[in-house]
C-alpha cells in the first residue's frame, strides 16, 4: 500500500517538476500554435463523426481552427503522396485505417514525426506504440449488415461463406479496398481464411461495389441492396440509432478488427497546432465522444454505451500490421481485376458451377 502511495507521490512530484520546468515551453507551444492559427486534418473517420471531433476542437476556442478533409484511407494516403510529388504539403495530422500505410510513410517515405500525445501513457497497451510514431485513435470491426424489411430472419447468413450462395445474386454490396482501410483488412483476412478465390466466387453473385465501407450500410438502409458483406460497425451503430431498418450480423468465423492510427506529419505546415490537435484527439472528451459513437478506444476512463458489444465478446480477425503493409497494394489490384471481370475463375470452373446450379434446380 505504502509502496503504491510512494510511487504515486513520486509520479506526482515528477509531474509537478515537469509542469514547473515546462511552462515556458508549453506556453510557447500554445503561443506558436495560436500563431499558426489552423490545423488541417486528413481523416478517414466517417464524415459525421470526424466533423464532431473537429467541431469540439473549434468550440474550445483555442484560436486554432480545425479544417477537416475526410476521405477513404487509401485515397487519403494516395492523395498525400500525390501532393508530395507536386511538392505540396498541406496536411498536419493524418488518421487512416490502414496501419500498413503508416509503416511505409514512416520507414520508407519519412513522412511521420513522432509525437506523444498528453496522457497516452495510461492508454490500453494495444493502442500505443513505443516510439510514438503513431497512436491508435480508435478501433472498430467490420460487420455484415442487412435490411430488416427485406431479409427474413431465417435467411440471415451466419457465415462469411453464405454470401457465396446463389440466392444472394445481385442483392449484395461490397466495399472497395481501393478506397478504405477496413475493406483492405477484410479482404486480407477473408482471403487468408477462405483462400484467394473467395472474392472471385463472390463476384459471381454480381454484387455492387461501393467506395466507402461505411456508406455500404446506407445503401442497405435505403434498400438499394439487401445486405452489405461488411460495413464499419460504428457506422452501423449510428444507422440503428437513427432508426433505419438495419441489423448487424456477427458471422461465426469472427469479424475483422481494424485499429486506426493517427500521426503528426513531418512536413506539417502548422507543427505546433498539430501537436495541440493530437492532444485533443487523445483527450478524455474526444475519446468518450468516439465511444459514444460506437467506436472502441484506448483511453482507460471511457464509458461505453450499453448497446455496444464489448470487444472481449467478439471473435476478432486481426491482420498483422506488417501483412497490411505488404499486401495492401496487391490486394487492391486483385480486387480491381476481379471486379472489372478481368480475373475470373476460368472457363472450366464456370462450367462446373453452371452444371452444379442446374443440378441444384432439378
Amino acid at each position: 500500500m505504502t509502496g503504491r502511495f510512494l510511487r504515486l507521490g513520486i509520479a506526482g512530484l515528477a509531474a509537478a517538476a515537469m509542469l514547473m520546468s515546462i511552462p515556458a515551453a508549453e506556453a510557447a507551444d500554445m503561443r506558436a500554435a495560436k500563431k499558426e492559427g489552423k490545423i488541417l486534418w486528413y481523416s478517414s473517420l466517417l464524415l459525421s463523426t470526424s466533423q464532431k471531433v473537429c467541431k469540439a476542437f473549434n468550440d474550445r476556442k483555442l484560436g486554432i481552427q480545425c479544417i477537416l478533409h475526410r476521405d477513404g484511407s487509401g485515397k487519403l494516403y494516395r492523395r498525400y503522396r500525390t501532393e508530395a510529388r507536386g511538392k505540396l504539403f498541406k496536411a498536419d495530422v493524418i488518421h487512416t485505417s490502414n496501419i500498413g500505410h503508416f509503416i511505409i510513410m514512416n520507414d520508407k517515405l519519412k513522412f511521420i514525426r513522432p509525437y506523444k500525445p498528453k496522457g497516452v501513457d495510461r492508454f490500453v497497451e494495444d493502442f500505443k506504440t513505443k516510439d510514438n510514431r503513431w497512436t491508435i485513435f480508435r478501433a472498430s470491426v467490420m460487420v455484415p449488415l442487412y435490411n430488416t424489411k427485406l431479409v427474413k430472419a431465417e435467411d440471415v447468413p451466419t457465415s462469411w461463406l453464405d454470401f457465396l450462395k446463389p440466392k444472394w445474386k445481385k442483392k449484395l454490396v461490397v466495399a472497395d479496398p481501393n478506397y478504405g482501410g477496413f475493406a483492405t483488412a477484410t479482404m486480407i483476412a477473408l482471403s487468408n481464411m477462405f483462400g484467394d478465390d473467395y472474392y472471385i466466387k463472390l463476384r459471381n453473385n454480381k454484387p455492387r461495389t461501393f467506395d466507402s465501407a461505411g456508406a455500404t450500410g446506407v445503401l442497405v438502409a435505403r434498400g438499394e441492396v439487401l445486405m452489405t458483406t461488411g460495413t464499419v460497425a460504428y457506422g452501423a451503430f449510428d444507422l440503428i440509432k437513427k432508426g433505419e431498418p438495419v441489423k448487424m450480423v456477427i458471422p461465426k468465423e469472427g469479424v475483422p478488427f481494424v485499429a486506426s492510427p493517427a500521426s503528426v506529419l513531418a512536413k506539417a505546415p502548422h507543427p505546433n497546432a498539430a501537436e495541440v490537435f493530437m492532444d485533443h484527439l487523445f483527450s478524455k472528451d474526444t475519446q468518450q465522444l468516439l465511444a459514444d459513437n460506437g467506436l472502441y478506444v484506448g483511453h482507460p476512463d471511457v464509458k461505453y454505451p450499453k448497446a455496444q458489444t464489448p470487444l472481449s465478446a467478439l471473435k476478432l480477425l486481426k491482420v498483422d500490421p506488417q501483412e497490411m503493409k505488404k499486401r495492401s497494394k496487391p490486394i487492391r489490384k486483385k480486387f480491381t481485376k476481379i471486379f472489372r471481370g478481368i480475373l475470373t475463375e476460368g472457363k472450366k470452373a464456370t462450367k462446373k458451377r453452371a452444371k452444379a446450379a442446374r443440378k441444384g434446380k432439378n
Binding site: L40, Y42, L46, L47, Q51, C54, I67, L68, H69, R70, D71, G72, G74, K75, Y77, R78, R79, R81, T82, E83, R85, G86, K87, L88, K90, A91, N147, K149, L150, K170, K171, Y179, R208, T209, F210, D211, S212, G214, A215, T216, V218, L219, A221, R222, G223, E224, V225, K242, G243, E244, P245, V246, K329, T336, K337, F339, R340, G341, I342
Partner: protein, 580 residues
Amino acid sequence: MAQQTDSFASPLAARFISARRKFDASTVVWGTIAAILLILIVKPVYHLAKQSFLLPEEDGGGWTLLNYFTAFTEPEHYYPIFSTLYISFSVGILSLILGAIIAWCISRTDVPFPNLLRNSVLMSFVTPPFLGAIAWIFLAGPRQGWINIIYRAITGAGPDDYLVDIFTVGGMVFAMTLYTFPLVFIVVLAGLNNVSSDIEDAANIAGGGTFSTMINVTLPLVMPALVAGLILGTLEAMILFGIPAVLGLPAGNHVMTTQLRAFMSSDEDMIGIAAAYSLPMLMTAFWLVYMRRHVLGRRGYATLGGKGGQRRPQRLGPWRYPVFILCSIPVLCAIVLPYFMLTTTSFLKTIGHGLSLSNLTFDNYIFIFNNDAVRISFYNTIMLALMAATAATLIAAVTSYITQRNLVRGHKYMSFLATAPIGIPGIVLAVGLFSAYTQEPFLLYGTIWIMFIAYVTKYLPLAFQTSNASLMSIHPELEECSRILGASRLQVFKDVTIPLFKAGLLASWILVFMPSLRELSASILLYTSETKVVSVMIITFYEEALLGAISAIGVILLAITSIAVLIGYKVVGRDFMRSE
C-alpha cells in the same frame, strides 16, 4: 497631277510612319493577350506530351517509351478504351436522333409551345450531368428506383424483379444521352433555321411531296449541321466524367476518363502513364473538332442564323399534341423528374422509410450549412466562376477584336488558339496542368489558381465564339471614324467598341459563369482539401452515400443557375444561348 497626289500623300505617309515610331500602348495589350493564350493552351499540352515520355522522378527520371507500353497493354487499361468507343458512339447517334427530331419539330412544324420546348431543352443543357445521374438512381435503381417500384406494384412481380437498371452500360448511355442531346439540338436547330422555305416551296411546286422534299431537299441542306451534331455529341460523351463515375463504377464499368482519374490518384507516380493514356484521347478530340469545322466550313456559316427567308411550318393537324408530348419526354427525363426527385429527397429524414409527413425534415439543409467543407466549396465555386467568367470574357473579347480587325500579323493563330480548347477534354487538360504546375518555379498545384487556369482555358472557346458572333455585327466604320478624329486604339476599344459590344460580352460572361458552377472533370484531379468546389463535394458525398445532403446541394445549385439564366434572358433578350 502626279505632283499633287504626291504632296497629298506624303504628309499622310509621314504621319503614318511617325505613328508607327511612336510607342503604341495597344501593342503591349495585344502582345500580352497572345502570351496569355500561349500559356493557357500551349503550355499544358506541351507538358502533357513531354510527361508521357518521362520516367517517374522517384525512379530517377529520364526518357522512356515504357509509359505507352504500360498504358495500352494491361487489360484494365485497354478495356475502358473499348467501352469509351462503344458508349460515345451510341450516345452520339442517340443524341443526334433526339436532337434532330426535336429541332425539326420546333423549326419546321406547328407544334404547340415551341418556345417552352426550346427553353426546357436548354435548361437540361445547364443541368450538371452527374447530378442528373444521381437523381436517376432514385428513379431507376433496380430495387428502390421509383420506376421499378411502380412496375412491381402494377405487374405484381416479385421483390427481386425490376424493369430497368441504371447501373448498366445501357443505363449509362441513357443518362449521357439525356444531357448530351441538347448540344446536338442547338447545332441542328441553327442549321434548320438557316434553310428558308423558298427552296422547299420550289421543290413542292416541282411536284415533290412533303416527305420527298424533306429527304431530297431539306436533309442535304442540313446535312452539315447533322454531321456536326453527331460529332459534337460523340465528343461530349467521350469526355464526360461524372456520369460514368456515378453509374459505371458500382458495376465495374470503367471508361477512359475514370481510368485517368485512377492513374492520377494512385500511390505510385503514374502521371507519365496518365499522360500517355490521354494523348490518343486528345488527338481523337482534336480530330473530331477538325472534322466538325471541315464539315461546317464547306457550306459557309451553316450554323449562323438570320440569313434565311420566310419559314413555313408543316401542319401537323391532329398530331400536334401527340408530337408535343413525344418531344417533351426527353425534357421530362432530363430535368423535371430528376429535380423532383432531388427536391423530395433533400427533405427526407431517414432514407429507409420513404416519403411520409413524419419523415420530412430540414436536417439535410442544416447539415450542409453547418458543414465547413460545403461552405468553403460554395465560396470557392462562386469565386472561381466569377473570376473565370470575367477573365475568359476579357481574353475572348480582345482576341476576337484582334482577329476580326486583323490587328496583328498571325491573328489567325490567335483565333485557332482561342478555339483549340474545345478539343481538350477537361480531365486531360487537368493532367497537363498538373505536370505543368508542379514544377519549379510554377508551383500552382494546390492553389485556387490552377483551377482558375483550368476553367478559363476550358471555357475560352465558348466566350470566344460568343464575342466573335456579336462583334461581327459591329461595323468597323464606327471605330475608323473615331480613329480619324484622333482617338487611340485603346480609347476606341474602350469608348466605342465596348459599349456596342456590351450585350455580347455579358452573354459570353454568363455562358462561362454557368458551366463553371458545375465543372467537374478538371476539378476532380486538381482539387485539394482547401480548394474543393461544389461538384467535387457532390462526388465525394456520393462516395459516402450522403444522398440527402447531395440532393440539398443540388437544389441550391439549381437555384443559383436559374438566377444566372434569368439574368441572361433579361439582359441579353431572347437571343441568349441561341448561338452555340
